[in-house]
Amino acid sequence: MMKATSFLTSLLFLLSLNTAQGAPGWKALTNDEVHDPTSPAIGILQEPATALALLPSDTSGNRVSWIRALRERYIQPRTNIYPETEIKVLDMDIIMELTGEMPLVRFPHKPHTEWLDCDNCHDKIFIEKVGANPVNMFAILAGEYCGRCHGAVAFPLTECNRCHSVDRATFTGQPGAQPEKKVSELIN
């Protein structure tokens, strides 16, 4: 009996590993529960898997590492339409310390400003002053602050350690705004 049980256990374990490492489940437009399968657009619109399978993969969200896709030039999305628009990229981290027992949060401006303009967040979502924003996970989970994008179009809120990434015990610097680094490479 024990043999049968352990056999069953290992089988289930292997099965689960197999499932966990399976190909990303990019739903086809006909069964994404958003598009009308009878719409004439089906067959004309690009299928997500066709485009996304070519990009560096991630383990959550829409299974694409958009940061790597941009930095490693898999994609070169336009920065502006109007020629006079100023492209601003800031390489400055914010360390947030009011994180309870979780590791400190490091907010890197660089990957955010590579995609977004300053005025997308300041001052609409975040007041441009350290300590002025009562950010907390309840608000984030309800779609405020970081939750405006994270969980919708950026990596989801189940990826705790991507933000809570600074060990409290070994962090010796000052929380808040860190020294600004020169943007060595402006990606265009």
Partner: protein, 137 residues
């Protein structure tokens, strides 16, 4: 405890073990959840005017444009449902009409390509924290 009781207890342990492994399997399988697209459905005006709801796929557009192009230059607020977009504006070259003009992208006479959503869908972001993600649980 009699022999019958012992066997019954063994059986119930096996049963619990089976349920445990089944749960484990289900847990692992959930790591393979389907990708979430963050598609925005626009249906403030569409179905009132006998058109399918509009589906805006973020993934398609961000391959070609950074967020800042639409959310900074074109003035789209970063909250599904907070942009009052109508066809008049689009034809005038505002919002989607900045590119969907037959030059950068298909023009507005390709109604069905944007108006491709399932009838009855509500305006909002689909496949995201508003639906199956941890938010709003």
């Amino acid at each position: 405890m009699g022999k019958d009781g012992y066997i019954q207890r063994k059986k119930s342990i096996r049963c619990r073990q089976f349920i445990f492994y089944l749960t484990l399997l289900a847990g692992f399988s959930s790591f393979n959840v389907l990708a979430e697209y963050g598609d925005v459905v626009l249906n403030r005006n569409a179905e009132l005017n006998d058109m399918r709801p509009v589906v805006f796929p973020h993934w398609f557009h961000r391959i070609r444009f950074r967020c800042k192009v639409c959310h900074h230059e074109l003035g789209f607020e970063m909250r599904a449902g907070s942009n009052d977009i109508n066809m008049g504006d689009i034809i005038d070259g505002k919002f989607c009409g900045m590119c969907h003009n037959g030059e950068t992208a298909w023009s507005v006479d390709n109604c069905d390509l944007c108006h491709s959503g399932k009838p009855g869908l509500k305006t909002g972001i689909h496949g995201s924290n508003e639906t199956s993600g941890p938010g709003r649980w």
